[in-house]
């Protein structure tokens, strides 16, 4: 390859991190700039280090937080967030012990920087363009919004990175996801990504890294770009990226770990060289028109089973592929929905506003603006779970918590909450929820629970009406 060969953003970041290139019979050895660690997927990796007498190679490029099995129950009168589950408490204690023993900084439960792992990285300025970032969590793709190559790994690989700061990786293929045009009022980043996944299917991106591009992506805030990159994995892609631009740099500037002074100027100059060159070639491409998008909602049991909120639930009998027909039939039985049915007007029990997809300050601002002066329907429980303690503090400084509380919603502590349903926050069997999270798999939000994935605006519209509602009806 000559220096003048046009390269994609992915190729630049990939090639910048090759300790050893890929060969015929060996994968590449890829250097990892930042390793995010949480309590659920790391204990067995630390055990392996201990068994083999290994140290953490770069604790200074590692950061830990607690989010998955962490309660989001409001603090008690002593200011403590109570952990009532003994297994979860033990897991949190092991995280503390592992971090202390191996010298890894930890944002502990109840401290000012704790939060969902994919919220705190960007918030602290740790997530920067051109970096390689991994975590034992599939939604690590979130950090790609900054032009980083960020992907989820398993616990064995968590151990590899702890011990060596490297991963064995085969080079993925690239797919351009072009979103042309501009979004209409009431349509958000969440609707873009739900539409992308509905179009390509839950496995459509398998083997690829996405690069999101086009006018609609450029116009999004960093939070919106994070929402989109977050759900790349729901389309099967381990990573999704957005080229860094002034929106990116403005977001990073001044954050605790952002470069300062002359280092900042140097960093930005480097970041400006990252975007995909004209003429660079992608292995595949998908195109969407933002002008045509309306609010999206899922009807089934994977994130690819999504549609315009004004559409009807599809009919399994109209599918030609037998396995797809079986899958849809199974999903509709689980969801207790009928083919041809509209979801508009469907009664719901719970609204969950939170998760690494939609729990950032702009999500809370948008939701608060729509719910202000309205009331959560008597039949609905609405949980608002900020993504981090920093988001929570910012929201409280702006009075957003009072708006949610006045509407009758619960204002909770930071964590994954009802997105993962292993921390006390969960649906009861048979309940329907409109959730701003990322997965509607069977039982994902609690055994027997049924999830409609949607944007924060659609979630608020459902909360105040008690039924699935097009948020544009409210905005008007």
């Amino acid at each position: 390859m000559t220096a003048s060969t046009p390269r994609t953003l992915f190729e630049k970041v990939w090639e910048n991190h090759l300790v050893q290139p890929e060969t015929q019979d060996k994968p590449a050895i890829l250097y990892i700039d930042l390793h995010l660690v949480h309590e659920v997927t790391s204990p067995q990796a630390f055990t392996m280090l201990r068994e083999r007498g290994l140290k953490v190679r770069r604790p200074d490029r590692t950061i830990a937080t607690m989010d998955h099995s962490t309660p989001t129950t409001p603090r008690n009168t002593a200011g403590i967030i109570p952990v009532i589950d003994t297994m979860a408490a033990a897991q949190l204690d092991i995280m503390r012990k592992n971090c202390a023993e191996f010298g890894i900084p930890l944002y502990d439960l109840g401290t000012e920087n704790q939060g969902i792992v994919h919220v705190i990285g960007p918030e602290q300025g740790l997530t920067q363009p051109g970096m390689t970032i991994v975590c034992g969590d599939s939604h690590t793709s979130t950090h790609g919004a900054f032009g980083a190559l960020a992907f989820g790994i398993g616990t064995s690989e968590v151990g590899h990175v702890l011990a060596s700061q490297c991963l064995l990786q085969n080079r993925p293929k690239t797919m351009a996801v072009r979103v042309n045009g501009r979004l209409s009022a009431g349509v958000t980043a969440k609707d873009i990504i739900l539409a992308v996944i509905a179009k390509i299917g839950i496995g459509g991106g398998t083997g690829y890294v996405f690069e999101y591009m086009g006018e609609a992506i450029r116009e999004l805030s960093m939070e919106g770009r994070m929402t989109i990159c977050n759900m790349s994995i729901e389309g099967g892609a381990r990573a999704g990226m957005v080229a860094p631009d002034d929106t990116t740099f403005d977001y990073i500037a001044g954050r605790p770990h952002a470069p300062k002074g002359a280092d900042w100027e140097k960093a930005v100059a480097g970041w400006r060289a990252l975007p995909t060159d004209d003429g660079a070639v992608f292995d595949n491409e998908v195109i969407l028109n933002a002008d045509e998008l309306v609010p999206m909602i899922t009807y089934g049991t994977n994130p690819g089973m999504g549609m315009s909120i004004t559409s009807a639930v599809p009919d399994p009998d109209k599918l030609s592929d037998v396995s797809q027909k079986i899958a849809l039939d199974k999903a509709l039985r689980y969801m207790d929905l009928q083919p041809g049915q509209s979801l508009l007007g469907k009664a719901i029990d719970v609204v969950f506003l939170g998760s690494c997809t939609n729990s950032r300050i702009s999500d809370l601002r948008e939701a608060a603006a729509l719910i202000k002066g309205r009331k959560v329907a008597d039949s609905v429980r609405m949980m608002v779970v900020p993504g981090s303690q920093q988001v929570k503090a910012q929201a409280e400084a702006e009075g957003l918590h009072e708006i949610f509380r006045a509407a009758g919603a619960e204002w909770r502590e930071a964590g994954c909450s009802m997105c993962i349903a292993m921390n006390g926050d969960q649906l009861q069997p048979g309940q329907y929820a409109v959730s701003t999270s990322n997965r509607n798999f069977e039982g994902r939000q609690g055994k027997g629970g049924r999830t409609f994935l949607a944007s924060p605006l659609t979630a608020v519209a459902a909360a105040v009406t008690g039924v699935v509602t097009d948020p544009r009806e409210l905005s008007n």
Partner: protein, 203 residues
């Protein structure tokens, strides 16, 4: 890890597309801090009634399929979460291989790291295996990792692709982390020429 070369195992079919890792092992079982005991929770929500009794009509509960070691799953097996608890649970439930038309990337990596073979076959073979498993629970296949072949009961050998390095490691019992750590000179050289910008440890 013990080297894996070839084995013969009975097959059982779960011909459902997009089986996600939340079904393989629901999140509420992820509060463990070791790998033991996850087999009992494998496919928990499909396998057990609310009172904990086994669902009689779920294939993995049927007497004829006890001891099956090769799971035939639908397309896009293992999508969703990165939890390595999924292959741990499948192995805990006695499986040595999963056969599908394709696997989610993270699941495939996690499976290979643990010696659970993710075997990709064409659609025709896939359909044939599902029929075989459903019609005759005593059906078995022979998986040969060295020749990358799965042999059906009728003697037909079907080649399957598998990551060459992972295959090499599994056949020879090579420790992947040991391989990476042996590259220490290269890693150190990379670090000297690529100073990082981010420091998580204060001052």
């Amino acid at each position: 890890m013990e080297p894996i070369r070839t084995f013969n195992g009975r097959i059982v079919a779960l011909p459902i597309n997009d089986i996600d890792t939340d079904q393989i092992i629901p999140a509420r079982f992820l509060k463990v801090t070791d790998k033991a005991g996850l087999g009992a929770a494998c496919f928990s929500d499909w396998r057990y009634e609310a009172d904990g009794s086994p669902k009689a009509d779920f294939v993995l509960n049927k007497a004829d399929y006890q001891g099956a070691e090769v799971l035939i799953g639908g397309h896009n097996f293992g999508c969703g979460s990165s939890r390595e608890h999924a292959p741990w649970a499948l192995m805990g439930a006695g499986f040595k291989a999963v056969i599908s038309t394709y696997f989610a990337d993270i699941f495939r990596n996690n499976a290979l790291k643990n010696g659970l073979l993710p075997i990709v076959v064409d659609e025709e073979t896939h359909k044939q295996l599902i029929s075989l498993a459903q019609e005759d629970p005593s059906s078995s296949v022979t998986v040969d990792l060295e020749t990358q072949t799965v042999t059906l009961p009728d003697g037909r050998g079907v080649p399957f692709p598998i990551d060459s390095f992972a295959r090499h490691c599994l056949i020879n019992g090579v420790d992947q982390l040991g391989f990476v750590l042996a590259q220490d000179d290269h890693i150190t050289a990379f670090e000297s020429s690529h100073p990082g910008r981010v420091q998580t440890v204060p001052g």
